[in-house]
Each structure stands twice: as structure tokens, then as C-alpha cells.
Symmetry: C2
Subunit: 353 residues, 2 copies
């Protein structure tokens, strides 16, 4: 029986070494191994080498449960979202995960219902139970001020991804996406093509991005001296069906729009479908623009003029910002402006007959 003490007693497979085995092998104390693992100063180069050698030989990996149980530091952040758009969510996950891996953090995803009555408590429980260092909040949760206040009252560090034309400087750190500016650019593009009657289909009111996009549309019309026609603006949700319905309504008007700006690509896809159902040829009979640059916008026919959001980079920055703040530093809020992408769904209006 020459197996080590820890090998005999463990219920994990025998090949799993602990810090204790490493210490024995390197002939140092537990604490010294811990120091090497955590990159602390005050370890002689020779000792460090011996420990690293032992770690390598034994294929040792620190146990995250034990680490987070004992340590004052935390080793994971939570990503909180309630968004029906898989492309958006996957991009956010990807961005957050890449930064977490780089920084040695874990990531806990937490899809949830933004309208749940006890959401703050739910998130508080999550943070406590899983010992999360903080939360990254995606829209629309990131825009519920009451929620933010409650989380802050619980002392939960957080960073938001929000829609705003400028840094809100309200004390809640954030990455802000200038939907207004991008919506302005899209509307301007349509105006410069010669459109005057431009329809607008709203997205969901629970997202701050909706009014922001509307404001960009409004502002562009105003700057180019075009009177906003109320009958060309239709409320709805960020969905294909609402895009379809909204477009049908607009196209049935006595003096229908020559272009329709859907608040996101799904809505614009609905517009494309409605146009086709109505026998209209896009872009010659009707120009259509979307927002988001989802893969759909590239693969539809015609491909959609839209605004490209660097969602993955936005999530990366948010995560980096959170981790920096946890460490006492602060790399500052940052703004992103989606970029106009012109494709085949927009063209000059057909001359009036």
C-alpha cells in the first residue's frame, strides 16, 4: 500500500492530485504551492520551478469550489439576459466568455424573465449561491432602473449593456450603444436616395433601443426638412409577424410609403414578406431597411440594408469593465455606434406616374 494518503481517502478518481500532493512532491508547504499558483511574489525562482515541475508531473488542477469557498476573491461572473434573438444572445455569450477565459474567470449564464416580479431577489440568490463576483446585464434588464437600484442595494457589482446616445453618467457603469445615431444614418440613407414618405415600424417598448431608433428616424426627417407623417409610424414588437402586419397596414394607405424602416431585421423580414404578398418588387417598388445585421439580413432576397452592431465586442467590453471594477480599477464606460450596411433592399423610389 504505497499510495499517498490523499489517494486512499478521496472519492474522486485516484489520478486527481490535490495541492497537498504537489506540496509533497515539490517538498514545500501547501502555502508555497498556493503562492505559485496564484502568481504571488516572494517565491524563489528555484522553488517556483520545482513546484511547477511537480504540478506538471501530477497534472494538478486547482479545484474551483474550494478556491471560491476559501478565497475572498470571486472567480465567476453572471450573464443575465431575456432576449428572444438567438444571434444576439450567442454573440453576447461569446464575447463575455472570451474575456472570462482570458481573465481566468468562469461564466454563469442566466436567461430569465425580465417581467418576473421578484427578479432582483432571484439574481441576488444566484449571486450568493454561486458566489458570483458580479453581473453583466443585457437589455432589457439593463434598463430597468428599479432593478439596478435593488441590485446595487444588495451590493452586487454590475455592468449594463444599454441603448443610449451618450454616457448616462448615472453611477451605473455601462457600455452604451448609440442606436439613435445609427437609425439616423439609415433614415438619412433613404432620404438621400430620394425617399420622402418613409414608414417606421417600432420595436418592443420594453427595450430602450426602440425609442432611441425612433428618435434617430425623427431627427433625420427633421434635419432634412421632411414633415413626419404620423400615419407612417406603426407600433409593434421586434418580431417578423409585427413587421408583416405593420407593412400591410402601411401599404394599404391611400398614399403609401416608398420606403419602410423596420426597427430590426426580423421586422424588416416581415416587411419583405408583406411586400411580396402584395406583389411589390423590393427595392424598385419599395425600399426596406432593417437593423442588427443578423445573418438573415445577408441571406434574404434581396439582402437587407441594415446597421451592423458589434455585439461580441460590446459584450467583451462590458465584461472587461466589470472585472476591472472588481479589481478596484475602472477602465471607463464606452460607446459603440452601429454602422450602416447598404445592401440590395434599398434603391431610389420609382418615379411617380
Amino acid at each position: 500500500m504505497n499510495r499517498s494518503e490523499s489517494e486512499r481517502k478521496r472519492n474522486r478518481p485516484p489520478e486527481t492530485a490535490t495541492i497537498r500532493d504537489v506540496a509533497r512532491q515539490a517538498r514545500v508547504s501547501l502555502k508555497t504551492v498556493s503562492r505559485v499558483i496564484n502568481g504571488e511574489a516572494s517565491v524563489r525562482e528555484e522553488t517556483r520551478a520545482r513546484v511547477l515541475q511537480a504540478i506538471d508531473t501530477l497534472d494538478y488542477r486547482p479545484d474551483l469550489s474550494a478556491r471560491s469557498l476559501r478565497s475572498a476573491r470571486a472567480y465567476a461572473v453572471g450573464l443575465v439576459y431575456d432576449n428572444p434573438n438567438p444571434y444576439y444572445i450567442i454573440a453576447v455569450q461569446q464575447g463575455a466568455l472570451s474575456v472570462c477565459r482570458e481573465m481566468g474567470f468562469g461564466l454563469q449564464i442566466h436567461p430569465c424573465d425580465s417581467k418576473a416580479p421578484r427578479l432582483a431577489e432571484e439574481l441576488h440568490d444566484l449571486v450568493r449561491r454561486s458566489r458570483l463576483a458580479g453581473l453583466v446585464l443585457a437589455p432589457p434588464m439593463s434598463e430597468h432602473v428599479a432593478l439596478l437600484r435593488k441590485l446595487t442595494a444588495y451590493d452586487i457589482p454590475l455592468v449594463r449593456i444599454i441603448s443610449a446616445a451618450e454616457d448616462p453618467r448615472d453611477g451605473f457603469p455601462c457600455v452604451f450603444v448609440d442606436d439613435r445615431d445609427a437609425a439616423y444614418a439609415i433614415t438619412e440613407h433613404l432620404i438621400q436616395l430620394g425617399h420622402v414618405r418613409i414608414g417606421f415600424l417600432w420595436g418592443g417598448k420594453q427595450h430602450r433601443s426602440s425609442p432611441e431608433r425612433y428618435k434617430g428616424y425623427e431627427q433625420a426627417l427633421h434635419d432634412y426638412g421632411i414633415k413626419l407623417a404620423k400615419e407612417l409610424v406603426v407600433e409593434g414588437d421586434y418580431s417578423f409577424d409585427d413587421g408583416f402586419r405593420g407593412a400591410r397596414r402601411l401599404l394599404a394607405l391611400p398614399d403609401p410609403p416608398t420606403a419602410i424602416f423596420g426597427s430590426n431585421d426580423e421586422i424588416a423580414a416581415g416587411v419583405l414578406a408583406a411586400a411580396r404578398a402584395g406583389g411589390l418588387h423590393v427595392p424598385y417598388d419599395l425600399s426596406v431597411a432593417g437593423f442588427e445585421d443578423s445573418p438573415f439580413s445577408r441571406h434574404s432576397w434581396p439582402s437587407l440594408t441594415t446597421a451592423r452592431q458589434l455585439t461580441e465586442q460590446i459584450a467583451q467590453h462590458a465584461t472587461r469593465l466589470l472585472i476591472a471594477r472588481l479589481r478596484g480599477g475602472d477602465i471607463g464606460n464606452e460607446g459603440f455606434s452601429p454602422e450602416l450596411v447598404v445592401r440590395g433592399s434599398t434603391a431610389p423610389p420609382r418615379p411617380r406616374h
Copy 2:
């Protein structure tokens, strides 16, 4: 100084109660509280009530790190995938997560590179460091037998989601999706509409689903006495671009197909685009079918005939199966057969002129 001992010493916020506080409040031992939390038998009803009352009063939540550190049981499973399709991944996550929540497990997502050279070691580390109870593997990882063998050698419990016409009974538990059967149904649908020259566009070879779908196509042609024309079969990947290219090639043939079966909806979307670029009217000049029932298939024009996969339910079953096996039981492998969904992209062929 009348704060409890554990309140004074802790670095977590003071309102966070531990099992010790609950025990004191309920005037029982730590162990009894533990028993109540874990729903063990042998606790008197009156005692249980007192403990639950104390838990409620103190708003106590068990700490997952401590729990998983101490316990022989594990409390989280990993979800491993490398799949570019966000709709698929979100559905798998959703399914796995719903079962995990129901069973009191955590979920650790692990997107990775299926072609990474040391993938087995990477997953082994993940399991050890995060003390995962087991892994749910999505395609294509779930189909690398060498990987499965290595993971099994590491004693990592796993459940696969794979493409197969029947239970492989190879010792690795799984949920199997009968792509072959569904591809047969789609091909049969096209044949019954009157098509004889039916093109087939392959998906990526690293996915088992690709040959399975091809076999279904092949079998249906055979059963209906149609000779398989090699020039109508094109290799490629599960992508829009390969669908576009493949369709272009097929449509340029001297005797082009009257229907094209794309191995997934993305490919089919590429076919739609190629048809349009070639001035063909779908479905009158060309029928198109996809596979997967992604939202795109509903929103394209015309909407796609496809096969509906109950991805979320498949993931749920896989997760349930894993957890059942961890507990020593076994609820058995299960098969799912995607269901034919007929939409606007398929119609009888135009009569030859």
C-alpha cells in the same frame, strides 16, 4: 456586540446567513439543518417546520461551492458544443437548463473547438476544476468515438445527442435523432409531388447527420424506383454559401433538377437565392426543401418545406438521462424523428414543354 459569531467574521455582506445561523435560530444541530435542506428522511415534522421557519426568517441559501466541495454528489453538468447555428444552440441550452433547474443542478456551458487536438484533456480539466457531474455532448463532438472513449477512460459520465436511425447500443448512452427517416419523408414528399430529378446538397462531413440525411434521400429514391443520378448530388457544408454554389451548379446542368433538397435550412436558403438569381420562380420552376425548421424557414419567401426537430425536447431528454444515470438509475436512450413540415417552397413540377 450582539452580532452572531459568523456575522462578525465573514467577508460576505452581513445579511448572508449560513447553515450555522439557521441551526442556532432553530435550536438544532448543523446536521439536522443539512438534512432538512437535502430532503432526507428521519426528521420529525415539528423539527423540519422549525428549521424551515428559520431558513425563511434568515433568508438562508446554501452555498454551492461549499456543497460541491464537501459532498460526494455533484451539482452541475456541462454542456459541450461546437456548432455555428445559434438557433440550435439556444434551443439546446434552453432544454438543458430547464431540466437542470428542475433537478436542482447547475449548468456550465462549454463552447469549444471540435477539432482541438487536446479536446479530451480540455474537457477532463473542465470536469475536474468545476466538479461537474457529467457532460452532455452535442454534435459533432458527440460523434467522435475516440473522444468518447477518452472521456470514458477518464471516468466522465456523458450523454450524447447524435444522429442515428436506431439506438446504437454501443455502451455510450444517447438521444438519437433519426435524420434518415426524416430525409426519407422529405424526399418522398417531393417524389409524390411528381418530381423525378431531385438534387441533393450535402451538409458538413464532420456531422453524422449529413450521411444520414443522404441515406434517407437515397433510400426513398430507391424505394420509388428512381435511379440516383450522381450529377445531382453535390458535396458541401451546412452553409448558405455552399447552398448557393451547389444550386448554381445543379441549375447549370443540361438536364437540371426540378427539385432540390438542401441538407439544412441554411443550404436551402442559399438555393432560394440562387434560384432567384437565375430568374427561377420557386416553387413553380423549382421546388426547394430544407431541414431543421429554423425560424428562417418560416420567414423566407416562399417559406420552406422542411423537417422540424424538437431540439429543446431532445436536449431535455439528454439532460434527464444524464442525471438519471448519475443517480444510478437509467431511463433509457430515446429516439426522436423530425417531422415533415410542408410549406410554400414545394409544388408539383412544371410540365415539360
